[in-house]
């Protein structure tokens, strides 16, 4: 049975030092991220949307942190960045609703508030739906990354 190459450092932190896992994850991560961004941005044209696209994007960052060690993962997205992105996603949702009030409709309105509609079926159509989808995607991705960092770290 092949042995897993694990090195123990400190209490509760492992680093997988396997060449195949590292090279494969280094090759595959850009494709996963492009696919995640595609699912988020095409939320109003094909099945998908903010939640599933955000989960795919967050999963690629967790893959980088798992196949290398935790320091490399934290260098991609630090604790501070993921915290700010997560709060920023929720704040963006609320501010889009408030922007609908300033533009003349009710809270979180789409067509009656005057967002640019465009042609049905194009990429830049359906005004507020695209903006809200992108914010929700950012929020879910950083939620998954923050959860992973908090659960995997050992005691201080």
């Amino acid at each position: 049975m092949p042995r897993l190459n694990l090195t123990k450092r400190g209490r509760g932190e492992f680093a997988i030092e396997d060449q195949i896992v590292r090279i494969t994850s280094r090759l595959v991560t850009p494709f996963i991220q492009v696919y995640g961004i595609y699912v988020i941005v095409n939320g109003h044209l094909s099945p998908g949307g903010g939640f599933s696209g955000g989960a795919i994007f967050g999963a690629s960052l967790v893959l980088v942190a798992l196949s290398f060690n935790l320091e490399v993962g934290v260098k991609q997205i630090s604790h501070q960045t993921s915290s700010i992105l997560e709060s920023g996603g929720a704040l963006g949702f609320v501010l889009t609703g408030l922007a609908a009030i300033f533009l003349g409709g009710s809270y979180l309105a789409n067509r009656s508030a005057g967002f640019p509609m465009g042609q049905a079926g194009e990429l830049f159509s359906a005004g507020a739906i695209l903006i809200i989808t992108v914010f929700v995607g950012i929020k879910v991705a950083s939620t998954i990354v923050t959860l992973f960092y908090n659960i995997i770290e050992g005691e201080k």
């Binding site: 949307g49 929720a90 067509r111 359906a126 739906i129 879910v140």
Partner: protein, 112 residues
């Protein structure tokens, strides 16, 4: 008919408990779960048939969303327009639930 079934169950219970030696806790668990499946299967048999076009879940509200969804919101994906345009307040509540859950996880794990 029902009495024969009850007698059958009692005989099986006595055989399993005293001759084969299964624990009483395991038997009780299996009987409880069997009772749940039995009761729910009556509910499943009474439900409207699977996939019929005149089921009560397909009344005028989904028909309105399907017919005038593209014209009113401009999104081709009807589910996206339902959760972001027609029912946007529920999605705001869901984003709040995500946020509160993450805050609870951080507060539990990083309390010095």
């Amino acid at each position: 008919m029902v009495y024969i079934l009850i007698l059958f169950i009692i005989v099986i219970t006595l055989i399993l408990r005293f001759i084969i030696g299964v624990e009483a806790k395991t038997l009780l668990t299996f009987y409880l779960l069997g009772l749940i499946i039995f009761l729910f299967s009556f509910t499943v048999a009474e439900m409207p048939p699977f996939g019929s076009p005149d089921s009560p879940a397909f009344n005028e509200v989904p028909r309105r969303y399907l017919e005038s969804g593209v014209a009113e919101t401009g999104a081709v994906n009807i589910i996206s327009s339902v959760i972001i345009d027609y029912r946007a307040f529920d999605t705001l509540g869901e984003a709040t639930v995500l946020f509160v859950a993450i805050a609870a996880v951080i507060a539990t794990l990083k309390s010095h």
